[in-house]
Amino acid sequence: MTGGRDTACRRQLGRGLVRRSFKLGQNPLDMTIRDIVLIALFAAIIVAFGLVPVIPVAGLPVPITLQNLAVMLAGAILGPRRGAAATALVMLLVAIGLPVLSGGRGGLGMLLGPSGGFLFGFIAGAFVIGWLAARFARVRGPAWKENGLSILACIAGGIGVCYAMGIPWLALATGLPLEKAALGALVFLPGDLAKAVVAGLVARGVRRVYPIPLK
């Protein structure tokens, strides 16, 4: 039943457009205008969440920003390709020199610096979250189970994949042994876990109110 009404509306609204794209042999990724808009709006949410006041968490030395929570949401709500595209779009804005990362940072230096791997890891992470979420979305069960799977997807992509790219980059770039680099990243783990839980719950909450097909 998920997204039945939504797909019908899209078929309805996008029919002429999709046909035209196929005719021109354009747009092999099969992105409709609505997809582009969803990607851009989620990129805007990612940027906006870097600007809203940070949530101080007692006992944590680093401020918690909501930016990577929004990245997880992009994957979990839009699906793999659109979620990764939304995140990549934010990185494009970083590259062209807009201060869209949390704390008003931006520019090519952010992408090329020691923590650049985490930023690229966001893109891959959003994809993996979306991919898992699409698979888990078919599972029906009690609330705890659906919530659990949604959170699991966010942890796997938002932490697993992101760290898997960020830590080796950090190690490679700095010549640090891998385990030392991993130790450094550990500071962020409690906050990131908390955010993965919130993202997983939000994603399921949104899907219950306003389901859209994961794409």
């Binding site: 509306c9 609204l13 457009l17 035209r20 794209s21 021109l24 042999g25 354009q26 747009n27 092999p28 992105m31 205008i33 609505r34 582009i36 808009v37 969803l38 851009a40 709006l41 989620f42 805007a44 949410i45 906006a48 809203v52 949401l73 709500i77 779009l89 934010v90 494009l92 804005l93 590259a95 062209i96 020199g97 807009l98 201060p99 869209v100 704390g103 008003g104 940072r105 931006g106 520019g107 090519l108 230096g109 090329l112 610096g113 020691p114 950090l170 770039a173 700095t174 010549g175 640090l176 042994p177 030392k180 450094g184 919130v198 719950l201 939000v202 909450g205 949104v206 109110v209 306003y210």
Partner: protein
């Protein structure tokens, strides 16, 4: 808010084409990883300082952008120093200083629109093969800049509405309605874009 980091000026770097500056960064970024010789890395880092001096950005903007990087580079160098000796620490610190300073100089001296154009030119071969569509990318970039303030506004509205009902700040109750509202808006925005004739017919493609 999403005002670009670009700082207007008329320096050598401001006048250089964005594509050349991008190419220079790629060369520098590769070169500093090919050597661990301090006699080469120190001049590279100093060159970064020199580039920034040429661009002459406002001091406040400079410190804000550099502060985060400086802490990170210092931290990384410290760990490297403790575990692998101070020579490696100097290598790491100089390497990243060179990249970050040069990249910041490029960012501060290049208009976002010019940078976007350079990136589009870079993507042009992919565009011709139909793997990406630069018109759509440009549209998406504009849409993000257009809707960030609106989303911040919605965030504030929802928070106020919940405070008015005596609810505490609960991330779920805050973010779910925000996302749902955004998803609903997407239909209207897409319709508005289609209503104005996008994508344009491009004969011969």
């Amino acid at each position: 808010m999403t005002a670009p980091l670009y700082s207007p000026g008329d320096s050598l770097l401001h006048r250089a084409p964005a594509s050349a500056k991008l190419a220079g960064l790629v060369v520098l970024g590769t070169a500093v990883f090919l050597t661990a010789d301090l006699a080469l890395l120190l001049p590279a880092a100093l060159a970064g300082v020199l580039l920034l001096a040429i661009v002459r950005p406002p001091r406040a903007r400079l410190t804000r952008q550099l502060a985060g990087s400086a802490i990170l580079i210092g931290l990384v160098a410290l760990i490297a120093g403790l575990s692998q000796g101070w020579h490696q620490a100097a290598v790491v610190a100089l390497r990243f200083s060179a990249i970050v300073l040069a990249a910041l100089a490029v960012t501060l001296s290049t208009r976002a629109a010019d940078m976007l154009e350079a990136i589009e030119a870079l993507l042009a071969p992919l565009d011709r093969r139909g793997l990406v569509d630069s018109a759509r990318i440009a549209l998406a970039v504009s849409l993000v800049l257009r809707f960030v303030p609106d989303i911040l506004g919605h965030y504030r509205e929802i928070r106020e509405a919940q405070a008015a009902r005596g609810l505490d700040a609960n991330p779920l109750a805050l973010i779910v309605p925000l996302v749902v509202r955004t998803l609903k808006d997407a239909d209207d925005i897409a319709a508005a874009i289609e209503a104005r004739g996008f994508p344009p017919d491009r004969p011969g493609r």
